[in-house]
């Protein structure tokens, strides 16, 4: 009987282990903006109370990561954010993923496609990473 109880409790622990979010990736869907899209930006905010190191990547439809700039190589301070930005093509859809070294619970992220050809940047589309 004791064994049954222990096994049942172990089952509960295993079942509840999912929501711990350890090393979880948050990811956007793949989005397209318009022919005049030329820049993609992924913005990741740390809403927690400790620093978070996060690997942020922008991908094309084939899953190839884009090279670009940004400041996500350094840990994100509490309340602060980092961004990754890359030039994109007009006829392709793109996505973003963010993988923290630990939990993703305190990350909020958004992926934006931008028309940056004129003097002003015009956001065309955005989607949340989850």
């Amino acid at each position: 009987m004791k064994l049954a109880i222990v096994l049942s409790i172990a089952g509960c622990v295993v079942a509840l282990a999912g929501p711990a979010h350890a090393g979880q990736t948050i990811a956007s869907s793949t989005i397209y903006g318009a022919f005049n899209q030329d820049t993609a930006e992924c913005i990741v905010r740390n809403v927690g109370k400790s620093n978070v190191t996060v690997d942020v990547n922008i991908f094309d439809e084939s899953g190839n990561p884009l090279s670009g700039g940004g400041n996500c190589a350094a840990p994100i301070l509490p309340g602060d954010y980092c961004f990754k930005r890359a030039p994109i093509s007009s006829g392709v859809a793109y996505a973003c993923s963010a993988t923290p070294s630990g939990s993703a619970r305190d990350l909020r992220a958004n992926f934006v496609l931008i028309d940056d050809l004129g003097s002003d940047e015009t956001p065309l589309r955005s989607v949340v990473l989850r």
Binding site: I5, G11, C12, V14, A15, T30, E61, A93
Partner: protein, 131 residues
């Protein structure tokens, strides 16, 4: 004591059921087309293994939409890849939506349906995520 153990076992089973995700479907809300619009539905596999998936785009009352291109339904979607279903000319003044049915879990699928205005460069004018 026996009742207590049975309750714990039941909780375990219920807890585990939440992560089974067998044959899951994700689906968008309905988007209204207007005139001169095109549609696209993107499905991304953010997991580490291929996912067989069937993606459909349809209008009011389940009527199918004529698909111009698709690369989702003939082979499993590899890890990290995105597939798309495109309709170059949506029917006027209907609602349309997109659904993706995974053979197993849909947990690692991210989906997006878009309505695009044909005049002026196929700009996305409405969009929704599949959930």
């Amino acid at each position: 004591m026996r009742k207590y153990a049975a309750s714990l076992a039941a909780i375990s089973v219920l807890g585990t059921a939440g992560i089974s995700h067998a044959g899951q479907r994700i689906i968008s809300t309905s988007l209204r087309t207007g005139v001169d619009t095109a549609g696209a539905c993107y499905i991304r596999n953010v997991g580490k293994t291929p996912v067989p998936v069937q993606v459909e785009m349809y209008q009011n009352a389940g009527f199918p939409i004529i698909i111009s291109f698709q690369n989702c339904n003939d082979a499993p979607l590899p890890a990290g890849r995105t597939c798309v279903v495109i309709a170059n000319d949506l029917p006027d003044d209907v609602t349309f939506q997109c659904s993706a049915t995974a053979t197993g879990s849909a947990k690692n699928l991210r989906g997006n349906v878009e309505l695009r205005a044909i005049p002026g460069g196929l700009r996305v004018i409405l969009a929704d995520e599949l959930r």
